[in-house]
Subunit: 452 residues, 2 copies
């Protein structure tokens, strides 16, 4: 199924002959494949625009709208406004606003006056919504009809409106103040008698989202009810726009990527891996690693404070990676499970007590069995009952603590309106390390005092 082309790599687009060949090939491709192909070629943006213009009309416009926002910015910066106008006009309203928001003000202002008045008003309206809310990702191109018209009249109107609508599979029924009264699907329309009014066949219990809801909640609604689109309304239930299922797929994928990045202590970034420049990638990794390095110096300091105990029993050092590693793993397990369960709305804030009881039992069970295994390893190999007791008791206590921290911190962070995914990351693992080492040496001091 993968039709991304490699041929483009072998042509030199500065040669007219080769470029014509490339354009001919592009003309035969799906817009998504044109976008993928020229994105991979790493052309200079001005050359890229020339090639798109040559490829021509609708297909090239659609391809442009599917390029990454960085490539779109580069094109806008180097081509003149008149050339770029049809490309920008053809974009979906929400993507267009994202692009115009992200380029230099003077570039945006050279293009804006060229856009038709009605479109400009739409841009201004979309501009105000905060990033990450339903308002910022909705499109304003949808099919809207009044309740009094008949099915036949509705189909007639749709035929006139359709070319400009992102989807006509749902039809939104509103009054003249745009209050959302009902919804019907194109399927309902096809199945109904031509003369009945929309009012009599529309569904009045409409599933909608508010413009200030987070996009993740919108994605959850579409996913739960298996919708193709969901209407976005304001406080007075006036229709502002719709969010379609293809945007929701992008939202879900971007969300997962961010969670993966947070969990692995990479500052979230949106570009393609190869598109991210090395210096910028360095910073998004270095800052977290440095923070973690300083946090892990906590462990170093705790060991330095306990140097006397270590001198007394050097073998204690041998089992530190085992205790901290195992407990870090257990904490990561419970944190990841709860973070994911929260993302899928399986676990909510009100479940705090329930999660606490489950993970208390789980931590005790895991700590007990793993502690026992460790005891036998230490006892059998080093023949040292005291060391075995210290290591396995430390493992049990630290694992219990790590398991509860991992499970409950995401809920606490959510309560504090922070991102729960932060917990599953190495930061908590590093803190658990330090706490584990403290517990370990405290137990060692007691052990040596009473049984040494």
């Amino acid at each position: 199924m993968n039709r991304a082309l490699n041929i483009a790599y072998f042509v030199d687009p500065s040669l007219d002959r080769d470029r014509n060949k490339l354009v001919e090939t592009l003309k035969r491709l799906h817009p998504s494949d044109i976008a993928e192909t020229i994105e991979k070629c790493d052309f200079h943006p001005s050359l890229l625009v020339e090639i798109l213009v040559q490829t021509g009309s609708e297909k090239a416009y659609d391809a442009f709208s599917q390029l990454s926002i960085e490539t779109q910015q580069a094109c806008l910066s180097c081509a003149d406004a008149q050339t770029m106008l049809p490309f920008v006009e053809n974009m979906e309203p929400d993507d267009r606003v994202d692009l115009l928001k992200s380029v230099d003000e003077d570039i945006a202002e050279s293009i804006l006056p060229l856009i038709a008045q009605a479109e400009r008003n739409a841009i201004r309206r979309l501009w105000q919504y905060e990033e990450g809310t339903a308002g910022a990702v909705m499109t304003t191109e949808y099919a809207m009809l009044s309740q009094s018209i008949s099915v036949a009249g509705a189909l007639e109107k749709l035929r006139l409106q359709a070319p400009n609508k992102e989807t006509i599979y749902y039809i939104y029924v509103t009054d003249d103040q745009r209050h959302l009264l009902g919804i019907l699907s194109l399927r309902d329309l096809i199945m109904s008698k031509p003369q009945v009014s929309l009012e009599s066949i529309m569904q009045t219990r409409v599933i909608s989202v508010s413009h200030d809801q987070e996009v993740e909640q919108v994605a959850a609604v579409i996913s739960k009810y298996d919708l193709l689109a969901v209407p976005v309304v304001d406080k007075e239930n006036r229709l502002l726009g719709i969010i379609t299922v293809d945007d929701v797929i992008d939202i879900i994928e971007a969300e997962s990527t961010q969670d993966f990045q947070r969990m692995s202590a990479v500052m979230p970034f949106e570009e393609n891996y190869f598109k991210r420049s090395l210096p910028r990638l360095f910073w998004s990794r270095f800052l977290w690693l440095a923070v973690l390095l300083f946090t892990s110096l906590l462990s170093t300091s705790i060991m330095e404070m306990n140097a006397a105990v270590l001198h007394q029993m050097v073998a204690l050092a041998f089992f530190i990676p085992l205790v901290t590693g195992t407990c870090g793993n257990a904490g990561t397990q419970s944190a990841t499970m709860i973070v994911r369960a929260m993302a899928l709305d399986e676990v909510r804030l009100s479940d705090f007590g329930h999660v606490f009881r489950r993970e208390l039992v789980m931590g005790l069970a895991l700590g007990f069995v793993l502690g026992l295994m460790t005891y036998f390893r230490v006892f059998l190999q080093d023949n040292n009952m005291l060391l075995g007791g210290i290591v396995s008791a430390a493992l049990l206590a630290t694992l219990l603590m790590a398991n509860l921290t991992g499970a409950l911190m995401p809920l606490i962070l959510k309560r504090l309106r922070l991102d729960p995914a932060l917990t599953a990351g190495p930061f908590i693992a590093t803190v658990i390390d330090a706490a584990g080492i403290t517990i370990y040496f405290q137990l060692a001091i007691w052990g040596l005092k009473f049984f040494g």
Copy 2:
């Protein structure tokens, strides 16, 4: 937007009065919400079936199809076949096959004979596809027409077929051997003159998937081309079924959940967090933790072998968590980035060399800067140049190794047809720990020999 009900918690459904109240409430809900509500109530399955039967007809059937497969199994096991028949018949063909495959053979065989012959044949066809392939998740309920009929004729046929079709938004045009000739959308149909033939308006370059392709690839196709559904064909391009976008959302979410679980060393499981029983949850966590514990004993053994060096310089032990922790974090960063980039098709097997060069530079840069920071910390606080040199050189070497391992292992695993997400997990981190400690002590032995 969340309409999940809490009221059901306060009713005792064994009391007729309370149950009637619950049923009345359920009747007013969306099927997805009915499913969510009764799933949360933890009713005995036989009571659950009774409530669904009382709620009645289409809505209850739809609600049943949205219950988790575990709950569906429980219902099937305790209610008689005749009662369950309409529920099972109403399910989407692919889900129905999944359910019948998962219950005891005698339960499946008590229901199968009751199902109509045509449906039974569909079940038998779907039964043969391997799990995780397009064939196993496709539905066989789609709108199929021949190329010679007119737009008006097509709309007429759709009106007759529609009630049984999962989606009529795409219409598939085939010849009488079911060879896929073209596709058109319901929108195209609405926009065209009634008398033209489908042949003249259909798109003949159809984006399709093969029945044996992995579901993740199908999800990528739907996501890339922004489709509402994609046709599934066999080797001879005969239409077998379609996969719709709502199934793709479920696939994407399940995939991410699995990746999260692998990355955190939890054996993948599909149930809701609270639905997974504690003993089963224990096993999916314990087995990995035990493997990791034994792997981390590698670190212990390496330190035991180097006990003499540790006795000579106990301070060496203080910086082990710092070196292994920082390098583990760097390895996790690069592994996660590459795993995610591979999942989004940004990085492919052929990019091995490119990734190697990038991560070599990145590892050197990170190792150098973080090593320098560590050197000053050790030198300033412990005033020990030798120790500082050993720790920072070990940090540089281990970080470089960890960074390259993290970045390249996913590519190598993919080549070996294993799951790349395994790399980002704690297993690699634990192996990196052991390798890091080996490097650390080797450098310490050389350092003490030449400068000690």
